[in-house]
């Protein structure tokens, strides 16, 4: 059951991720990316990270990607114009990527023997309560400091987006 669930959503995630990379139109890539994020959210549930799964949907799929789609719509970005790419990229791109993937998979398989397995309900420490407790004790400092980051993001977007400088 868990294996089937994993295989289905891993497959969706990989296909959608490939789609992000090969589609020429930004909006098609964006929709595929939402697909990746959605299937990752399901996999998070499998890993017992219910809060993160929901946060993934709210933050990534519901806010970040909406911004992307919004900008694509606003700029009316069309399909990518194909240029003559350098011969090197054309010849080496795909083989290099496949080699890199193979290497990564090899590393991961070698480092992690199959003795640790995942099944639904195997870890239940990812509830909102557990996250909140850790956030306000052990991770109090990063939590407070990261609020500064959000302030910077707001300020930065305003600085760059305002009509006039003075």
């Amino acid at each position: 059951m868990d294996v089937v669930l994993f295989l289905i959503f891993a497959f969706i995630a990989v296909v959608a991720a490939i789609n992000v990379v090969v589609q020429t139109h930004p909006i098609a890539s964006a929709v595929s990316l939402i697909g990746v994020m959605g299937s990752l959210a399901i996999l998070y549930l499998l890993l017992g990270a219910e809060f993160i799964a929901v946060a993934q949907v709210i933050v990534y799929a519901g806010a970040v990607m909406v911004l992307f789609i919004f900008v694509i719509m606003l700029l009316n970005a069309g399909a990518e114009v194909k240029r003559g790419r350098s011969l090197l990229v054309q010849l080496l791109g795909a083989p290099l990527l496949i080699a890199l993937l193979g290497l990564l998979a090899y590393f991961v398989q070698r480092i992690f023997p199959r003795n640790v397995t995942v099944h639904f309900g195997g870890f239940t420490g990812g509830s909102a309560q557990a996250i909140g407790r850790a956030l306000f004790t052990t991770y109090l400092l990063p939590f407070e400091v990261i609020s500064l980051l959000i302030l910077i993001a707001i300020l930065g977007a305003i600085v760059l987006g305002r009509k006039e400088l003075d």
């Binding site: 590393f107 070698r110 004790t137 052990t138 400091v145 302030l151 300020l155 930065g156 760059l160």
Partner: protein
């Protein structure tokens, strides 16, 4: 568990510089719409005060040295050294910004707020002892720098600089973060001290695993410090960004990134040093070589200094390759010296470049010595220090680095590094020749007289460069003392 395990009054004092900077930044941001900004230098003055306050704050924090917030921060000599360095860089950035922003009609509180936030982020970075905290500090510093690079948003080049900086910076962040994830996977912790204990401990994880993590982090940090082969963004970004911002980017964030580079690689990854040493060796050599040879071909001074900053990143990597406390101390000293001389040189460029940053070419410096002898003399100090002439900070910086390299038996790297320094002398001397031996150009004759802020912005780094060159032991002793305590 009681809350006092995670926070207490001492922790707040250890966190004082960051608190001062972020509160001041927020104050500036709020003040911006409330004051008539044509009339005053209020924003610049306020941020100067905040930076000086933060300088004292970091001294006060050092008086309480120790881990803070349950091991998230480690306020030690190393952290204090770099905290003070980035704060001083901040002061030296604000000083030329006064005149620069006024000339571009772009003086706002937001500029200074972003600058203060960025410095606060760097302070978090250098004092953090936990990879997640380092990551957050890095992002605070980076995201505000992206905005600063694109601050003059009607300028095509500034946009492009911001875009490239942003895209490459985020790309690097991805790599760094993947490295953090693997460290977490390998050791079950992201605290550097605990991770080191896990790596050296009995059940140490597979060295391949740690190696992959180290490689990913190296890629991420390599991008941020513009080391070969990740240097391609630096010239465009440094050329396109507003000049005071360029001065800041090439010194503050760079010093802070090198600080975490040293901290991560000299604590957590130190046990697998034999693995990464050859990698860093090649990167150091090629960064120096490519930076120096590319700089030979440049006619734009900002671009030239950008390539030279790639080369200087290479010198610091030589110190890292040495893998010793002496090397770490040498890197700390060099970064301080580099900050002074580079920021001074950029301050001169920002003074010469004029409204709209028109004058950035080598020819625009022609005859500066006739028109403004003082400016030319100060630029000469900075350039001589960049070359590494004795009695300047640059000389001792290079000296200590190559000494540390020799002590670690890196003979070839030292020889090639020294050859590189000889090449570098050529393009710095070109600027000097241009200033002293040519007829005044349009830019040199049109340059405004130095304002008080600008004078301070030039004289302070010149003093710094000379002090480091004449009394190097003042800084070096402190660096040596704190580098040996890093683990």
């Amino acid at each position: 568990m009681p809350i006092s395990n995670f926070i207490n009054a001492g922790d707040l004092i250890r966190f004082l510089p960051e608190i001062i900077l972020s509160v001041a930044g927020t104050l500036l941001m709020v003040l911006d719409p409330l004051v008539n900004r044509r009339s005053s230098n209020l924003f610049g003055t306020l941020s100067l005060l905040a930076l000086i306050g933060a300088l004292f704050g970091s001294v006060a924090a050092y008086a309480q040295a120790g881990p803070a917030f349950g091991g998230m921060l480690s306020v030690d000599g190393f952290a204090t050294f770099f905290r003070m360095l980035v704060i001083v860089v901040g002061i030296l950035t604000v000083l030329p910004s006064y005149r620069f922003l006024a000339r571009q009609d772009a003086e706002t509180g937001e500029y200074h707020a972003l600058l203060l936030y960025s410095i606060a982020g760097q302070c978090v970075m250098v004092s953090a002892n936990d990879l997640i905290m380092i990551f957050i500090g890095l992002e605070i510093s980076s995201i505000s720098s992206y905005v600063l690079a694109g601050y003059l948003r009607d300028d095509k080049r500034a946009n492009e600089a911001a875009l490239k900086y942003f895209l490459l910076g985020s790309f690097a962040t991805g790599f760094f973060l993947y490295g953090v994830a693997l460290i977490y996977g390998a050791t079950g912790t992201v605290n550097l001290t605990l991770a080191r204990a896990a790596i050296t401990g009995a059940n140490s994880p597979s060295p391949v695993f740690i190696g992959v993590a180290a490689a990913l982090m190296f890629v991420g940090l390599g991008f941020k410090v513009s080391a070969w082969p990740f240097q391609m963004w630096a010239p465009d970004v440094y050329q396109g960004a507003p000049t005071p911002v360029t001065a800041f980017l090439s010194t503050g964030p760079k010093a802070a990134t090198f600080a975490i580079f040293l901290r991560i690689f000299m604590t957590a990854f130190e046990p697998i040093g034999n693995g990464w040493e050859p990698l860093v060796w090649i990167c150091a050599l090629l960064s120096m070589t490519i930076g120096n040879f590319a700089a030979l071909l440049q006619s734009n001074v900002k671009r030239l200094l950008a390539y030279s900053s790639i080369a200087h990143a290479g010198y610091v990597l030589v110190a890292l390759t040495a893998r010793s406390d002496v090397g770490t101390a040498a890197a700390m000293f060099y970064l301080a010296a580099y900050a002074f001389m580079n920021i001074g040189a950029f301050a001169v460029i920002s003074h010469i470049s004029g409204k709209g940053e028109r004058y950035q070419n080598l020819e625009d410096f022609a005859g500066l010595a006739q028109k403004q002898p003082m400016t030319a003399a100060l630029l000469t100090i900075f350039l001589l220090s960049l070359i590494g002439v004795p009695l300047t900070g640059g000389f001792f910086g290079k000296f200590y680095i190559f000494k540390a390299a020799l002590e670690s038996h890196l003979v070839w790297l030292t020889v090639l590094g020294l050859l590189n320094s000889a090449v570098a002398a050529y393009y710095y001397l070109r600027i000097l020749v241009m200033m002293y031996m040519h007829e005044p150009s349009e830019a040199a004759s049109g340059a405004e007289p130095l304002t008080v802020g600008l004078k301070a912005a030039l004289i302070l780094p010149a003093l710094g460069t000379l002090i480091l060159g004449i009394f190097p032991s003042w800084v070096l002793d402190f660096a040596g003392k704190s580098s040996s305590l890093l683990k």
